[in-house]
Amino acid sequence: MDRKSFGLSMEKGDLLPTILILPTLLIVLCFTIIPMFYGIYVSLHEYRLGGSLSSENLVGISNYVNAFKDSTTKKAIVNTVIFAVGCVAGDLVFGTIISVLLYRLKEGVQHILRPFMIMPLLVAPIVTSLMWTSLLDVNGVIYWALGKIGITYAQFKGVSGTSTALFCCITAHWWTNIPFVVIVLSAGLLCISEDLYEAAYCDGVGLMKTFWYITLPLLKSVYMTIILISGVDTIKSMDVVFGLTKGGPNNSSMTLNLYSYLQAFESGNMSYAMTLSVLTLILALVCFGIPFVRYNNRKRNQS
């Protein structure tokens, strides 16, 4: 893109571009940036809803110290990481399989199947969690199917088992997020020139090897973006876990942001909830947010 050929050049003291950006800037400043810093300020106090935020209640970093002593918080941090990694890994594996299978179909068939494949994406996460609650009901379809292959409730406790609850949440999240991966990967697959595959075919390279040595390296940047976007969305979102297990049983599927939400709106302990949500923010930024921005900056520089 050539900025010099831009006809509407800007002169000194020209205010129009600033005025155009102003509404967005104001909204983000007033409702995202200021609340964020206010939240950090709140987390340094002892504050419950309706209480006062005065210097008497200033407790410094003791909320953070307490958070790292709290066994539920530790559990929640571990769960959040497992949840994010499990969701993204599954998304990538299943998403890749589905998009390659779709790609190998005739174009007409692809067009018919695609809407059905992306349908789960449009369903609200809370409705998704309802569906999975009904599927995972003891008298539901999944236990019926598992019964056919000889697995009983005692062996697989689903959402009410401490070791399986988080896995159920991850499965439900796969269901909502895989369509996104399929959409993006399908678009990526279409960008790869057909000639490369033909050349590989002429040299007698098998399907698996073609995928491993041609498709995968060429899709590296697409995968990178999917990992970062899905990762950040997984850490941010809590609807599925909220609807499916509400963190239970016995906090075994508690994630950091859900714990924060419950502290704020069920216990009314605002300052501690804010401490937890600052930890969530740090986790999201360090793991995915900052790499995402840096990655995109590099990409824009290259082009």
Binding site: I27, M131, S260, F292, V293
Partner: protein
């Protein structure tokens, strides 16, 4: 990748695809049929494919709850959020393009940080702040929250599309005597219609389906559909028929919109990833 393979491998592939397709569609099919079944039928396992459809569940839902109201609230929130985000996002993207310096263009990538901010981090302080000025419980609070959390990413998205518009187009508009605002309305909006549609459908889908802000900021009178779903299923004796009815009513509108605007949904989602 479209090379021929042995026939048994093709069968294996098709079977695998059918399994995945089944997994994607089955839960939706189950919840729709459940909502149309009478009490006894919903507990039948395996679920019956043929049954006599009844509208009992829907009638009961409308009788016992305030559903029209929740539906209206959702429409208000989703449409206002979409309009605000698309308008402000397009203006800001145009502003970014008008700035000549490359630093500002680079700065637009910082907008992506906005996408990484967890909802909960904004929800709690915003709740405290809005509570002080008495805005909690109103739809305006939800609209504010939805706008602020989608605006950065959508500005970045439209800005990406905007930088693809060739400079010559702007130039010829100037030569023909357009002011810069006229250029925006007469040239940019028409050329960027698909991009704006993509952004709009992404915001609409987010806002309609969002639960956490809506749950934090609304009260009995201002529940949106998703909040109603979460609240009513929490306290209800497990009746999959009625739950199915709620779920259907809340997801069918957005699924329908998504179906018709499929092209834009896909282009919006792939824009960030594939094109860069």
């Amino acid at each position: 990748m479209k090379q021929k393979v042995k026939w048994y491998f093709t069968i294996f592939e098709r079977a695998l695809l059918i399994i995945f397709l089944f997994a994607a569609v089955f839960p939706i099919w189950l919840i729709i049929t459940n909502s149309l079944k009478s009490g006894v039928d919903t507990f039948k396992i395996p679920p019956s494919v043929f049954f006599k459809p009844v509208l009992n569940n829907y009638q009961q839902l409308f009788k016992t709850t305030n559903f029209e109201n929740y539906f209206k609230n959702s429409i208000v929130v989703a449409s206002f959020t979409t309009v605000i985000v698309v308008m402000c996002g397009t203006f800001a993207a145009y502003g970014i393009r008008l700035f000549k310096s490359k630093k500002v263009a680079k700065l637009s990538n910082i907008l992506l940080v906005g996408r990484a901010v967890p909802y909960i981090t904004i929800l709690i302080p915003l709740y405290i702040m809005l509570n002080k000025i008495g805005l909690t419980g109103s739809l305006l609070a939800v609209i504010i929250a939805h706008s602020t959390s989608t605006l950065p990413f959508n500005t970045w998205l439209i800005s990406g599309f905007m930088s693809d518009v060739p400079g010559e187009l702007f130039e010829s508009a100037t030569i023909d005597g357009c002011t810069r605002m006229q250029t925006l309305f007469r040239i940019i909006f028409p050329t960027l219609k698909p991009a704006i549609a993509s952004s709009a459908i992404l915001v609409l889908q987010f806002s309609w389906n969002e639960l956490i802000y809506a749950m934090g900021f609304t009260n009995m009178k201002t529940y949106t559909m998703t909040v109603a779903v979460a609240r009513y299923t929490g306290g209800m004796v497990v009746n999959w028929g009625t739950i199915g009815a709620i779920a259907c009513l809340s997801s069918i509108p957005i699924i329908a919109v998504g179906f018709f605007a499929q092209k834009y949904l896909i282009s919006g989602m792939t824009a960030g990833a594939v094109k860069g």
